[in-house]
């Protein structure tokens, strides 16, 4: 065998590999991409004009410039279209459930608070009716302060009861008010307080006298229960309030002809810094509608969907605002919902999940659980993972590296919620705007890590950006089919959170003191406007917000997110500086 022979062999092998690679690119990858690179680079509608010191306006590619944003459910009222409100949503949910038999799985229903049980929607409706008659109507309640997670049975049912009663009753009685903590100062309007435990009751420190009724969601026979409670007529337990309820399959709602219900308040929320934001019916329906729209063709929400919402118990109030759009959307289409507390996550608690909603920390926990469930790593898992991530980076979803677990077999999408960390600063609407500092996003994964999650779960992963307490639902979300990997230098500087939600539009404004940011390069401080944004409550805060909006963003309904710096990519996606 001569040297020439080896040289020819080497050339032949290289030529063979190159042609295989070429054919593979052309015949396999190009035909199997979920989304073409062109679609990935055109994810927004952008105005052709911008104001001085501002970027152009950006919108989701589903809402063209000049057309309305997603405002609501688009229901018909004679020949007119109306946006709808919570009552329409709940009526549709109750109408659908008879045939579908869907459920909501919730912890906290019995004396043992950790017990999780499935509740049918007629059961929940029946409990809500009982609360309305036995609490709201009997005590003529103004506002109901809820310091319990809405992802527990008491929290969910009381929220539903309040949302129903506040629309039905004259003057919006029984309005829901999510509280971040047990109130230290008296709020005259809050007349019923719902708290989690006897321990929390102990912290009321005589302030229980402020309320017409205090509902404690704890065991009546608990050793923690203070003995003096037995003499208090205004303290009751959750179990005693709902005992004797009956299932109710019927829910009637006849919308008024003037659409007045659409502008009624939905709930208020008080943050840890005591700043109150009010949300109305329009916020809810536009958020529900825009979530339903995110699903791609042939993969729409259906009655086989089960959404599992995993929440941290330490951040009750802000979670309580965010759970509704997704859960209502799934229930509307006949699917089911389950709620799991982050500290109690097990694979069994996620059974039958098709849509998983969680935070970065919880996703890591679940990934570890999945990996551990198989004992030793499956054979050739390293090779499979490398193959899957290589395919994903080319835009092709393959499930070769999926670790099979019976509980997550049907999982099709994971919603990873990234949160803006400086919520108090954003809520303050202070006139002095800080320059950029690191740590805008609470925790993030690199794009390569996201693809690893996609490979291991064999499911799509959507990154969402939340601004808790101000915007209901996400500000933006990445495309289902966006598996792009960016260079480490880009990943280190920014987080891609996808194009804006269809209910919102946004722009960046130039803020002095940030010499490295240039609006001509589409960089600056984020301002948003649209239908999912709450309204700051209180004349002083409202005036402050209006002034800030005028000074920074030229008014016209823009809400500047104080100190949130980002940029628009050439693909139309929003990138937030880390």
């Amino acid at each position: 065998m001569s040297l020439k022979y080896y040289a020819e062999l080497a050339v032949a092998v290289i030529a063979g590999l190159l042609s295989v690679n070429f054919l593979f690119q052309k015949l396999v990858l190009d035909y199997n991409r979920d989304l073409t690179p062109v679609a990935l680079s055109e994810q927004a509608n952008i105005t052709t004009v911008r104001k001085k010191n501002e970027t152009a306006l950006y919108r989701n590619f589903l809402v063209p410039i000049g057309f309305p944003l997603t405002t609501g459910l688009g229901l018909s009222l004679g020949y007119k279209i109306r946006n709808g409100n919570f009552m329409d949503v709940w009526k549709a949910i109750m109408d659908v459930t008879g045939a579908k038999g869907n459920y909501v799985s919730l912890p906290g229903g019995s004396a043992k608070k950790d017990t999780v049980r499935k509740y049918s929607l007629p059961e929940i409706n029946g409990m809500a009716n009982k609360i309305i008659t036995d609490v709201y109507e009997k005590y003529d309640v103004n506002e109901v302060g809820l310091n319990v997670s809405a992802g527990t049975l008491p929290g969910f049912v009381i929220s539903i009861a309040s949302m129903i009663h506040s629309v039905r009753s004259e003057g919006g009685k029984g309005l829901l008010h999510f509280l971040a903590a047990v109130p230290r100062q008296r709020n005259e309007k809050v007349e019923v307080l719902v708290i989690d435990s006897w321990q929390a009751f102990g912290m009321l420190n005589k302030s229980e006298e402020w309320y017409k009724l205090v509902i404690v969601c704890d065991d009546d026979a608990s050793a923690m229960k203070p003995s003096e409670v037995n003499d208090m007529s205004n303290v009751v337990t959750w179990d005693s309030v709902i005992s004797g309820y009956t299932e109710s399959t019927k829910f009637e709602y006849d919308p008024p002809k003037d659409n007045s219900d659409e502008l009624k308040p939905l709930f208020n929320v008080t943050s840890m810094c005591n700043q109150v934001t009010a949300f109305n019916q329009l916020n809810l329906v536009s958020s529900v509608s825009s979530f339903i729209k995110t699903f791609p063709l042939h993969h729409e929400l259906s009655d086989s969907d089960v959404i599992t919402d995993i929440r941290d118990t330490f951040t009750v109030a802000k979670n309580n605002v965010q759970i509704w759009p997704k859960v209502f959307s799934v229930l509307l289409l006949g699917g089911s919902a389950q709620f799991v507390t982050a500290s109690d996550v097990t694979l069994d608690s996620l059974a039958k999940t098709t849509l998983l909603v969680c935070e970065p920390k919880t996703l890591t926990t679940i990934t570890n659980l999945v990996k551990e469930s198989n004992g030793a790593s499956p054979p050739l898992q390293g090779v499979k993972l490398s193959l899957a991530t290589a395919f994903l980076s080319e835009g092709v979803m393959v499930k070769v590296a999926k670790i099979h677990t019976p509980q997550l077999e049907q999982l099709r999408a994971i919603y990873l919620g990234e949160e803006l960390s400086q919520e108090a600063r954003i809520l303050s609407f202070a006139s002095k705007i800080p320059s950029y500092s690191k740590g805008q996003i609470q925790s993030k994964f690199t794009t390569a890590q996201l693809n690893q999650f996609r490979a291991v779960f064999g499911a799509r992963l959507v990154v969402e950006l939340y601004c808790p307490f101000i915007v209901m639902g996400p500000i933006s979300e990445t495309n289902f089919y966006d598996y792009r990997i960016f260079s480490p230098s880009v990943d280190a500087q920014v987080t891609c959170v996808g194009p804006l939600n269809t209910s919102l539009e946004g722009k960046m404004v130039n803020i002095e003191g940030n010499p490295n940011m240039d609006v001509e390069q589409r960089q600056g401080m984020l301002c948003i406007r649209g239908f999912t944004i709450g309204r700051p409550l209180g004349d002083e805060r409202l005036a402050q917000a209006a002034k800030l909006s005028e000074d920074v963003a030229g008014s016209e309904g823009w809400i500047p997110l104080t100190g949130v710096y980002g940029l628009w990519g050439q693909d139309g996606c929003l990138y937030i500086y880390n």
Partner: protein, 147 residues
């Protein structure tokens, strides 16, 4: 070889950088948005859909970006005379004749010879433009050219 080497060595294909932060983003100047501002007849004329793809039209002192209505205002469209010019008189009189539009080196048409009814018609047209197209600036005379 990229895909095969990625599989063999555990790499992944990096997408183009859309942020421009890595310094090697593709340039995209053509689609840069125009800054809202002041247009003179001379600077407006360029945006007639022919010399520049974009079509701007002035109505009663305001300039609208009518690029989306290219089939109407673009070259060989029925209202192509208006592209890149002040269309106030044409809209007021409902006429598409060349006599109703002025060249860029002429003084701006103040419509003073038109009856109030025609001015109202022009205002209605302006409302229509306001709803349909983004307003991108104001239309003003240029010193030394128009006055």
């Amino acid at each position: 070889m990229s895909f095969i080497t990625n599989v063999l060595f555990g790499g992944a294909k990096e997408s183009d950088d859309p942020t421009g932060l890595s310094g090697n983003a593709p340039a995209d100047d053509a689609n840069d948005p125009v800054v809202e501002g002041v247009f003179f007849p001379r600077t407006l004329y360029k945006f007639n859909g022919h010399d520049d793809e974009r079509i701007y039209i002035a109505v009663l002192g305001k300039v609208y970006d009518c690029t989306a209505g290219r089939s109407f205002y673009g070259p060989s469209g029925p209202y192509s005379n208006f592209a890149g010019r002040d269309a106030s008189r044409g809209l007021a009189l409902n006429s598409f004749d060349m006599e109703c539009v002025r060249d860029w080196d002429q003084p701006i048409d103040d419509l003073s010879d038109l009856p109030p009814k025609a001015i109202d018609a022009a205002r209605e047209w302006q409302e229509f433009f306001e709803k349909k197209y983004p307003c991108i600036g104001t239309f003003e005379p240029e010193e030394g050219v128009n006055y």
